[in-house]
Amino acid sequence: MTLDLPKLSGAVMTAEGRLADGSLAVTFAGTADSETRDQLEVITKQVHVEALRLKMPEVIVDFRELEFMNSSCFKIFVSWLAQLRDLSADSQYRIQIRSNPNLLWQRRSLAALSCFAIDLVTIQT
């Protein structure tokens, strides 16, 4: 089983995916803002495609090293969850978000994301 997900090594944001313990995990670091929005969208869409192709029960999204995310990038995750929610129950996977509780945006934005799709998202601090 191989993962088709390009590694992103930009100066502003990095993203790297891997398969581990039956899950697809993707780790983000740096800043997600207007400069990196398009790259973030490509990565998240591909994570979704791969999670469905590999029939993953869970995707782990690691934000612990992500310093900041603007609302345009946040909306990418809202759209991802909306798309996931639209799938039939047997095609859905869960998303576990690993967060850094020391960052206000993570405490607030991820709580809002969790409320948006309470049955699909768990936040780990």
Binding site: S34, S71, A82
Partner: protein, 160 residues
């Protein structure tokens, strides 16, 4: 040092927004010694400034962050089109008419989830996540958006 503030105006450039956000956070962390307030004001600065940069119709946009009495206020300004002015006023009026900031944020998340242009979430995010009140002032084609929050007396003592 009783009313610490800073003000920056620059040619609209989205790459500078994160730079200003980091400066804002560090400036108010040093001035107020309150990490949470500093992060809130940095978040508001980023979102407001990105909007100002995105919709500026000439070669200048600006931001001023100031501590006045018991309030910390972020102001951004730019010139823009009449259509954008109307849409901004309408968006802020609609948002402020909703009593519950978190519930309105969820409504906006649902409403914009399938939108492809912009996020449409920035103002609701400031109100819900940074717990800041948002108002606007319009003078002909110039708009000034303000986000404000109350600063605890303990925070102000560090600054003076």
């Amino acid at each position: 040092m009783e009313h610490p503030y800073f003000q920056v105006s620059f040619r609209p450039n989205v790459r500078l927004v994160s730079t200003v956000r980091r400066f804002t956070e560090e400036f108010y962390q040093r001035m107020l010694g309150d990490h949470e307030i500093s992060e809130k004001v940095a978040l508001a600065t980023h979102e407001l400034l990105e909007n100002a940069v995105a919709y500026a119709s000439d070669d200048e946009t600006g931001v001023r962050v100031e501590l006045a009495d018991d309030q910390l206020v972020v102001k951004t300004w730019n010139r823009t089109s009449p259509e954008r002015l109307e849409s901004l006023k309408s968006a802020i009026d609609e948002m402020n008419s909703a009593a519950d900031a978190d519930a309105y944020y969820q409504v906006m998340m649902k409403k914009t989830a399938y939108r492809t242009d912009g996020s449409g979430l920035g103002l609701a995010r400031i109100r819900a996540e940074a717990e800041m009140a948002i108002t606007y002032e319009v003078t002909t084609d110039r708009v000034c958006i303000q986000a404000r929050t109350v600063v605890a007396p303990r925070s102000k003592e560090v600054a003076t």
